[in-house]
Symmetry: C2
Subunit: 429 residues, 2 copies
């Protein structure tokens, strides 16, 4: 991998709440790793080829901590019910289609193409229960250039027949097979992740089996947690002995600690659950758009940040209507304002730099040193052209970036994208 330098208006958030801007600065990459962002190029890097993006904005790649690839097909529709009914009415019927590899090829190709063209450079992705379709999804994600975790879903209860795996053992066996094949395919960017759907769909016996799969491969874990009041009540009935929802996972070693774990939502986590999330170093994938659409509520993100919990953002397609992580940033800010106004006057709203931090360095930490142009960070970058937004007076770089994010310029304004030091695409003028 050749060293490279990109030049432009560089913006990133080294600390939560701090937006650093280097007008016409340089970001230097060697071996896939950032050597730093500089206002003027240090002499030692002269000789490395510079790609000059002129007046464009350059930011770290965006990290989507929670997205369901098989739900992409119905994004933006079916926004008329809550989680449990929504799963039955829209999600499960759609996910059942992925038993058909032809369908999976068509649908996942659309998803992968969109992810490639998005501002997202890293993603943590749910597939379906289907092993073959999920391997196909991994093939397609590998081609996008994104670095991603992809999981075959496990469900052995409370699901329609077509999606319910016949037994805990069969589910675990299939998961072993999935992981073995995934690892053998030698992907450079795509890794398997253990994916028990959520407690309502996973018996204790299944989670026990999965804990062994996890240990055998030292896999990370993704799942859902305390998303919706009905779901939380259902979990209480299903696992009456658990002190809190997350204990249903923790009993089987699937809730942080040794198991690198990301839990989506955490809207209704109790104090005990929040404390365990913190103690176990579980990542929270905050998915504000989804929480709006399927009426879940607003997660207390300010509280999580103050408690020192790791928080990133998720698009949660198709509870969320779009894969746009710019949208996730602004939704996170907007709902934090509603929460402050009506539910928690002590929890001040997120600022724009905080929102951007969550979508870059916040979620990026799940992948290691990701989401910043500080030295030692993996080199993920998005180059944004905002000339399509003409303006009657000069704006600061911070204003230009805020506007680009609020107006969703990740849709047509992305000029180039780098992941782990590789340029994935680049439009020349």
């Amino acid at each position: 991998m050749e060293p490279l330098i990109i030049r432009g208006n560089i913006l990133f958030t080294p600390r939560r709440g701090e937006l650093r801007a280097l007008p016409r600065g340089y970001a230097v990459c060697r071996g896939g790793v950032c050597l730093g962002a500089f206002q003027s190029l240090p002499g030692e890097y002269r000789g490395i080829p510079v790609t000059d993006y002129g007046d464009a904005l350059i930011i770290p790649g965006l990290v989507d901590l929670h997205i369901h690839a098989p739900q992409y097909a119905f994004r933006g529709t079916g926004m008329d019910c809550e989680l449990l009914e929504w799963l039955k009415r829209y999600t499960f019927p759609e996910e059942a289609r992925y038993v058909d590899l032809d369908y999976a090829t068509r649908a996942y190709s659309l998803f992968a193409k969109q992810m490639k063209n998005s501002a997202t450079t890293r993603a943590v992705i749910f597939g379906t229960v289907h092993r073959e379709a999920t391997l196909l999804l991994m093939d397609l994600m590998e081609e996008t250039g994104l670095i991603s975790y992809v999981g075959k879903v496990n469900m052995d209860r409370d699901a329609p027949d077509e999606l319910r795996e016949p037994s805990p053992e069969a589910s675990a066996f299939d998961t072993f097979g999935f992981i073995n094949v995934a690892l053998r395919r030698g992907y450079r960017r795509t890794r398997p992740i253990l994916t028990p759907r959520f407690i309502p769909s996973c018996s204790d016996a299944l989670l026990r089996e999965l804990s062994e799969v996890r240990r055998a491969y030292d896999l990370p874990v993704q799942s859902h947690l305390s998303e919706n009041p009905e779901e939380v009540a259902l979990v209480k009935r299903l696992v009456p002995s658990a002190a809190f929802y997350g204990e249903g996972y923790e009993r089987f070693g699937l809730f942080g600690g040794e198991a690198r774990t990301v839990m989506a939502h955490c809207v209704y986590s109790t104090e005990a659950e929040v404390e365990r999330i913190r103690k176990n170093g579980v990542w929270v994938a905050h998915c504000p758009n989804s929480n709006l659409n399927i009426c879940s509520g607003i997660a207390p993100v300010r509280r999580y940040l103050e408690a020192g919990i790791r928080v990133g953002l998720g698009s949660d397609v198709a509870g969320g209507q779009t894969e746009s992580m710019f949208r996730a940033v602004t939704d996170a800010i907007q709902v934090s304002k509603v929460r402050w106004r009506y539910l928690d006057p002590e929890a001040r709203p997120l600022s724009f730099p905080e929102g951007l931090y969550l979508a870059t360095k916040g979620g990026g930490s799940f992948f290691g040193r990701v989401g910043s142009f500080e030295p030692g960070y993996e080199f993920d970058a998005v180059v944004l052209d905002d000339f399509i937004l003409p303006h009657p007076y000069p704006m600061t770089l911070a204003e230009r970036l805020e506007r680009a994010v609020y107006l969703g310029l990740d849709r047509e304004g992305i000029r180039a994208k780098y992941v782990g030091g590789c340029c994935q695409f680049q439009y020349t003028e």
Copy 2:
């Protein structure tokens, strides 16, 4: 004006909550008025030329009941404070620039171009206090093809020197002048509207003067009402004898009744105010995006609808970040879910057809019979191409429209636009 017929997948909301879909139907227009939408073309209309938009979606034009043209330049920035501070820090300094007609030309041209290209066919628009700049805005709006009300703002207190008009009499005199010139210019689509900014900026003496201006020309009125708790408290201090905020306008005949009036926001209207809004037939311009961004809250729209109040939607640029009325529709639905969840479990969330109704027929009623393809409605239509959103299986028309609105296809998917029976633009394949 020649009669015309457009063909395609026609969708509209004749009643709140009812989405009617005519696959490959016909909408017929004569003399600027819709003669109806039909599944098959009645014999009597044979001979009228048909423009066939194939598989495109055809919906009524969108109506923006509240937008500030001079704030368009800073949309999507400055989202870090509440209303009163936001006015001081961002809005007033920007509005002060419009004393300069060169600046106004540059900035309003960008605004007008965007409005022309949007899905909005009708708008109720704030200018600034500047007479000349606001007339210029009217010239530019006239060219867009939209039908709009445009108001020169009045403010005689609590504003920076550059924006504060020297006296109530001077403000009224300038407004007379504005209206006279506006009427003399003989616009076909652009009408003046009385625009006292809000109670904090308007003394009783000014409102008294304006009430005479209003009566002299039988003008409609636009203003702000009960948007933010700080503002509501300020109004209480400024007009201690008023039983509710809106009474500050009503005393001077500027709150419905004979005066066709639209009030933006109404987030914190008291019971007495709500009752007066209803009784006086005041239109409420619900602006959910703005209410999120500047931390105002969530208006109780379901309650207003149940009370029989007239409600439309507003983008409220630049409290709102975008002029997209598709965004206003989905924001209205999303915040209604938060309100239901946390504040009012009896007020069920808005459905998609209800959201679309508010943005078409709801707000359209401020302009007369507008916002539907029922016979007798003025013929405003937007033709949407959604082929840029490929899909792995066939969708219903209702699903396609919901998706197009949630994904903001008013940005690049508008193929043609008709206002009052005139085609404003049309992209051919």
